[in-house]
């Protein structure tokens, strides 16, 4: 630009209004997190006395160590670290299981000439109306009878059937041009090869999107882990925090610092997943080369 226009743009009322709304909204979301952060920096006694305040204490490292490595309960295995690992296993297994199963189901529905394929799809789809909570008792009974209580597969496998993933992958596969399938057939790629060599790489962005949703969903599971895991070393973060925050017995104080620290740690992985995969998302949307 060669012309020298005034650098200062005039503030328009609508701009001010838009930004105010956004700033208020952002503050509304961030303040609880900041409160959480503040409470992790002070000792539990002060938290008990004053509640959240503006004071930044010096107990951050202490609370962190307690959160990650202090164990309580009977067996003494449910350290924060252990719970974090459990949660990660659940989240990853849950997301991966749903993606793999959903992709394979969608592959069968879209690419194979089966009788009643459409009917099968809609039956799968209607299971969206039957969330886990509706069938939790029979599910529990099955897992219990199979002896899968307090195991990771007991935690993950009953949850991985996914109408959502099947639906999204079905829609995506249907948008892949027919000629690609035919070209692959002529190139001698059988069903398995086509799936692995062509469909999976083409679905990358879809897989990333599903992974974001499903990982967060799995990470945040509360009811199911609560029922399936009774051993303390199988606890997930989300389930374990409550245990700690509530433990006010006799003269012991509730461990605000530790539980809030754990809450912060529990927020982190989903945030990281979203932040990391978001770039994939954008890449997939702009570099559409189908």
């Amino acid at each position: 630009m060669t012309t020298n226009t005034s650098p200062r743009r005039r503030l328009k009322l609508s701009v001010v209004l838009d930004h105010s709304v956004l700033i208020i909204g952002a503050a509304f979301m961030i303040v609880p997190v900041l409160m959480l952060l503040q409470m992790t920096t002070v000792a539990d006694l002060i938290n008990m006395k004053t509640g959240p305040s503006l004071m930044i204490g010096d107990q951050l490292d202490d609370n962190f160590m307690k959160a990650m490595f202090k164990a309580d309960g009977f067996a003494g295995d449910n350290t924060g670290l252990r719970m974090l690992i459990n949660s990660l296993i659940l989240g990853l297994g849950f997301a991966a299981g749903k993606i793999v199963l959903g992709m394979m189901a969608a592959y069968a529905i879209v690419y194979f000439r089966m009788r009643f394929a459409t009917l099968a799809f809609w039956i799968i789809f209607t299971t969206l109306l039957l969330p886990l909570e509706v069938r939790i008792l029979p599910s529990y009974e099955i897992v219990q009878k199979l002896g899968m209580l307090n195991t990771f597969h007991g935690l993950i496998v009953p949850l991985i059937a996914s109408a959502t993933a099947t639906f999204f992958f079905r829609q995506f596969f249907r948008s892949i041009p027919e000629e690609l399938v035919e070209a692959a057939r002529i190139d001698g790629a059988g069903p398995v090869k086509f799936f692995i060599d062509i469909l999976v790489p083409l679905s990358q962005t879809m897989i990333a999107a599903m992974f974001i949703i499903m990982f967060v969903y799995g990470w945040n599971q509360y009811l199911w882990p609560t029922m399936i895991t009774t051993d303390e070393d199988m606890f997930t973060l989300v389930r374990g925090i409550k245990q700690i925050a509530q433990s006010q017995e006799g003269t012991t104080l509730p461990e605000y610092g530790r539980s809030n620290m754990l809450a912060l740690i529990a927020i982190l992985p989903p945030v990281l997943v979203v932040v990391f995969f978001q770039s994939w998302f954008v890449k997939g949307l702009t570099e559409s080369d189908k």
Binding site: E182, G188, D197, L202
Partner: protein
């Protein structure tokens, strides 16, 4: 390389639609055959049956000595180029070309050698590590060609490969494909709806309409001796003029005008076909055309008008200055084709 034999091949879709009525023809080794026809005429179904992408409802298909009706596309030793190229978008050009070989468990060094050979042939050397999305339409077309030739198939199949290209590139690729096929000497079946492509590329043309084969012949035969009124009106731009006429006393007339002598056929109504370029302006000519519109085409002029009430077009060279109005013309020798009025078939 192989001869392809179709005997009584037909296609009936599950909904009862007869896409291809029983058809038989041979394609000799190394010949370039073009299937041409309007959309929905069954030419694509025919090609897809040869490829093995559609089941053959009845009849036998042989490629070389083998009956291939029940073979998978991959086992038929064919290669196909699709209209939208169907390149694998996530693979580099190199991988796209080599994918078929890789699936056939061919050694890596051999694949590399063949890919290099194909890319050299198609001037793709600079693009081997690019993805299809980074290529232009013509380059993608070449990659699709590369994918076909790298396998040394017995038979090339082309499904309207040029219709996604712009006109200029289309002309260029047309020549390239034809030259490549000549050089490799591979039998080829090419489907198009564009009669110019058919005329320019084919050794033999198969004209299809509504599931029927209307005519099989060299471009020259198809153009000059169309077997039916459909072929006459489909091949050639502008198409052949078709007018209602009669034969009486060995003379072919349009209205009162005698356009030809014909002693072979009984008297009665006929359809008279005359190519627009077979009508020449001639001050002494007996035919009078009422010219209503002149299209300037540069090298030629296309006149639209009527002859005895029948609409008609005339193709004259640029040397003939013509204005709307009455134009005297005469016909070239043997310019008149006669077709049965009801059957539409050529009366030879």
């Amino acid at each position: 390389m192989a001869q392809v034999t179709l005997s009584q091949i037909s296609k009936v879709y599950p909904n009862g639609a007869k896409a291809v009525k029983p058809a038989s023809f041979d394609i000799p080794d190394g010949e370039f055959v073009v299937l041409v026809g309007p959309s929905g005429c069954g030419k694509s179904s025919m090609l897809r049956m040869i490829a093995g992408l559609e089941d053959i409802s009845t009849g036998d298909l042989h490629i070389g000595e083998r009956r291939v009706n029940d073979l998978d596309p991959a086992d038929r030793d064919i290669a196909m180029v699709f209209q939208n190229y169907a390149l694998y978008p996530h693979m580099t050009v190199r991988k796209n070309i080599g994918y078929g070989l890789q699936n056939r468990k061919i050694a890596k060094a051999e694949i590399n050698r063949k890919v290099a050979e194909a890319s050299a042939l198609l001037n793709l050397d600079d693009y081997l590590d690019r993805k299809p999305s980074q290529l232009s339409g013509g380059q993608r077309q070449r990659v699709a060609m590369g994918r076909a030739i790298v396998r040394d198939p017995e038979l090339f199949l082309f499904d309207e490969p040029l219709s996604n290209l712009d006109a200029k590139l289309r002309n260029q690729m047309r020549i390239e494909i034809k030259a490549l096929q000549r050089r490799l000497g591979v039998t080829a079946v090419y489907v198009t709806h564009d009669q110019v492509e058919a005329m320019t590329m084919a050794d033999r043309i198969i004209v299809m309409n509504a599931g029927n084969i209307e005519q099989i012949g060299t471009p020259f035969e198809v153009y000059n001796r169309p077997a039916t009124t459909f072929v006459a009106s489909f091949m050639g731009a502008p198409p052949m003029n078709l007018m209602e006429g009669t034969i009486t006393d060995g003379q072919v007339r349009i209205g009162d005008l005698v356009v030809a002598q014909n002693l072979d056929h009984p008297a009665g109504p006929v359809t008279v076909g005359i190519r627009p370029e077979d009508i020449i302006p001639d001050a002494a000519g007996q035919m009078k055309i009422e010219v209503s519109l002149v299209e300037e085409l540069g090298a030629h002029r296309l006149l639209h008008g009527t002859l005895g009430g029948h609409p008609l077009s005339v193709y004259v060279s640029k040397d003939n200055e013509v204005r709307p109005g009455v134009l005297h013309v005469s016909l070239k020798q043997n310019a008149v084709s006669l077709f049965g009025k009801d059957t539409g078939a050529r009366l030879s």
